[in-house]
């Protein structure tokens, strides 16, 4: 089985974020980055298939030079090889642009399964997975919380609103966009990381995968990002946990909600 895992590198969860001078994105210099959390679970799901039998796991990412560190981490965890695509024209890419690049990468080989995270921690669109599946003309399931591979198909559980689960049987090849918590993500071992240096990491330009800047030009652009102004009317309760609980019940009763 051949598996593609799409990874995105996002600002570290502990990074202090500041809005950049043009007001359309955060300042990226000087902050740490890490693998998007959802993608860690996607990678782990793929590595479990590898552990269970014959599977090759390829990780792919799009981003500037800094993203290779995340690829090394993925290789250290057990992925077999990595693909890194970058072109300056991708700096403002929208979800469709990213999906087109990943589709071009995926079309170069015949993958049985494409794993990705449900969404990215930084932009929250949750669109790349479904768009990529569409471009590849394969079925997809989002918010995947369980997979069971058997005889060229996969039984997938998907999380619905309010904790309800939906079960479906999907033929391969397919794309699965994974929810967090689906598994326990492994740590890269020291030996794995030391061996990661020797594993193949292919750097590709758009032209290497038959695309150009025009083909991936964004249809969506960000006007501005901002922190919402502090609202009025918030009521801060203070005291011990017990006191706060008592005050809260009082407030709820006062508002006639109980």
């Amino acid at each position: 089985m051949k598996i593609l895992v799409c990874l995105k590198q996002v600002p570290h969860k502990d990074a202090r974020l500041e809005i950049g001078s043009d007001g359309t994105w955060i300042k990226e210099d000087g902050i740490k980055f890490e693998i998007n959390d959802y993608d860690n679970y996607a990678l782990e799901e793929a590595l479990r298939l590898k552990d269970a039998g014959e599977a090759e796991v390829v990780v792919a990412t799009i981003g500037p030079d800094r993203v290779t560190q995340s690829l090394r981490t993925a290789l250290g965890m057990g992925a077999d090889r990595a693909i890194h695509v970058w072109d300056d024209s991708l700096a403002n890419a929208d979800s469709l642009g990213i999906a087109k690049v990943l589709a071009a990468v995926a079309k170069e080989e015949n993958f049985d399964v494409v794993f990705c995270g449900l969404m990215s921690d930084d932009s929250n669109y949750a669109m790349v997975g479904p768009m990529l599946a569409q471009l590849l003309d394969i079925p997809h399931v989002t918010a995947v919380v369980k997979t069971d591979f058997e005889n060229g198909a996969v039984k997938v559980e998907k999380e619905l609103e309010g904790g309800t689960l939906e079960v479906s049987q999907v033929p391969l090849p397919c794309l699965l966009a994974v929810q967090t918590g689906i598994n326990e993500v492994r740590y890269a071992s020291l030996k794995g990381i030391m061996q990661a240096k020797k594993k193949p990491l292919d750097k590709k330009a758009l032209s290497d995968i038959g695309l150009d800047g025009a083909a991936v030009a964004p249809k969506l652009s960000i006007e501005k990002i901002y922190t919402p102004p502090k609202g009025e009317g918030a009521n801060l309760l203070s005291g011990s946990a017990d006191e706060i609980a008592t005050q809260m019940v009082g407030k709820i009763k006062e508002l006639g909600l109980l």
């Binding site: 890490e34 981490t73 890269a188 020291l190 030391m194 240096k197």
Partner: protein, 405 residues
């Protein structure tokens, strides 16, 4: 080497993840309770596949022995990569818990190290592998109530020949890391043959198992800091040791130089500890300086606070560069002279003490409170100026190097 490589950065990230998940939530218990660090150490080894690596290292040690080439002490090139990873592991853990690193270092570095360096093949086969994999915990005992810096000169512990090829051991050791819990103990003493004067007596070291009759161990001693590393007293009363427990199985195998080599490796590991402590203090201080408002502005806007931050950054850069040099020298197979290792240890220990005490100051009253962590790092940092050779002894070693010849 001028920066960590991509792989090294990747390792730093995963170790940090481990520390966040496994050490930070237990920090209170490790630092203020009675939770010994050994399960955390074993989990660390399991998580990062260190056991397998240690098994492979052990096999290399034994293979080298079979070639008759002596031991691991022989200068080999390469190895810088592994050393860098080790330094990363040490410094990342020390950002929260220098005690765990001390307990780990004494067990796998000093105790196993002493047997690897001078032991016979049979001794290595018996004791080294379980120590390297943390199946067994080790202690290395040289210090006594009456002998510390002058370790050999004032040493009172003795070994007397029992006339049957074995020895009778007596003495008290104190401040022994892992002492209260160790399974395997390296005991260093002087051979009393009934005629030689104490200052000329041979230095011998023995490997003892914890259940040896006549060996008693104290509970962990109460101390200023480093609470996550249990420290205790060992006392030996007419303990019988057979000849195959004498390291090297020869009265001339260990000697003063054996212990000195151990000091050397200890000194370099300490630099990595310092990097972690300083790095964490700086991180905490920068963030506090931005958040804490007095006189209507963040305290980071006061020049006196800026001076503290700037000095911390200078210390961090210097310590990191010392570490890079250590890694480079290891890679080149040359290693460091005793005087240079002493200089590194002296600088790193003093800089770290200064950084941590200034971190407490920068946090004001909060700095004195346990919740803000800098007080713990400050208490922990102090020991680095004392163990593995006091600052004063490092100064003496550096000066000796300069004035020699």
């Amino acid at each position: 080497m001028i920066a960590w490589t991509e792989e090294q950065e990747a390792f730093k990230d995963v170790v940090r993840r481990f520390v966040d998940a496994e050490i930070v939530p237990n920090l209170e218990q490790l630092e203020h309770g009675d939770l010994p660090p050994y399960d955390t150490m074993r989990k660390l080894y399991d998580t990062f596949g260190m056991k397998e690596m240690m098994k492979a290292r052990y096999e290399r040690i034994i293979a080298k022995d079979s070639e008759g080439a002596g031991s691991e002490r022989k200068a080999t090139t390469g190895g810088g990569d592994m050393m860098a990873m080790q330094c990363i592991l040490i410094s990342e853990i020390c950002r929260y818990c220098p005690g765990i690193v001390t307990a780990l270092g004494v067990s796998t570095g000093l105790t196993a190290g002493a047997i690897i360096a001078r032991g016979t093949r049979a001794q290595k086969e018996k004791w080294v592998l379980p120590l390297l994999t943390l199946e067994k915990i080790g202690a290395w005992a040289i210090t006594e109530p009456g002998s510390g810096s002058d370790a050999f000169g004032s040493m009172r512990s003795t070994a007397k020949r029992d006339g049957d090829g074995g020895y009778i051991l007596n003495g008290t050791k104190t401040f022994i890391t892992n002492g209260p819990y160790a399974d395997t103990i390296v005991f260093i003493c002087k051979l009393d043959d009934g005629s030689t004067e104490p200052q000329d007596r041979k230095i011998l070291s023995f490997v003892l198992d914890k259940d040896t009759p006549g060996l008693t161990r104290s509970k962990p001693l109460r101390k200023m800091g480093l609470h996550s590393s249990p420290t205790g007293e060992l006392s030996l009363q007419d303990v019988h040791a057979s000849a195959d427990q004498l390291i090297g199985e020869s009265e001339d195998a260990y000697g003063r130089s054996g212990a000195k080599e151990t000091f050397g490796t200890e000194r370099s590991g300490v630099v990595a500890m310092c990097l972690g402590i300083v790095d964490r203090c700086l991180e905490l201080c920068v963030s506090y300086a931005k958040e804490r408002v007095q006189f209507g502005k963040p305290i980071g806007e006061f020049q006196l606070i800026q001076l503290k931050l700037a000095k911390m950054e200078v210390a961090r850069m210097n310590i990191q560069n010392l570490l890079f040099r250590l890694i480079e020298l290891t890679n080149a197979g040359t290693g460091m002279s005793f005087a240079e290792a002493s200089a590194c240890k002296l600088y790193a220990a003093q800089a770290t003490m200064e950084v941590t005490i200034e971190a407490v100051q920068l946090f004001g009253g909060n700095g004195y409170m346990a919740e803000y962590q800098v007080e713990q790092l400050c208490r922990d940092a102090k020991v680095i100026q004392i163990y593995a050779g006091t600052d004063e002894l490092q100064i003496t070693a550096i000066a000796k190097g300069l004035l020699r010849g």
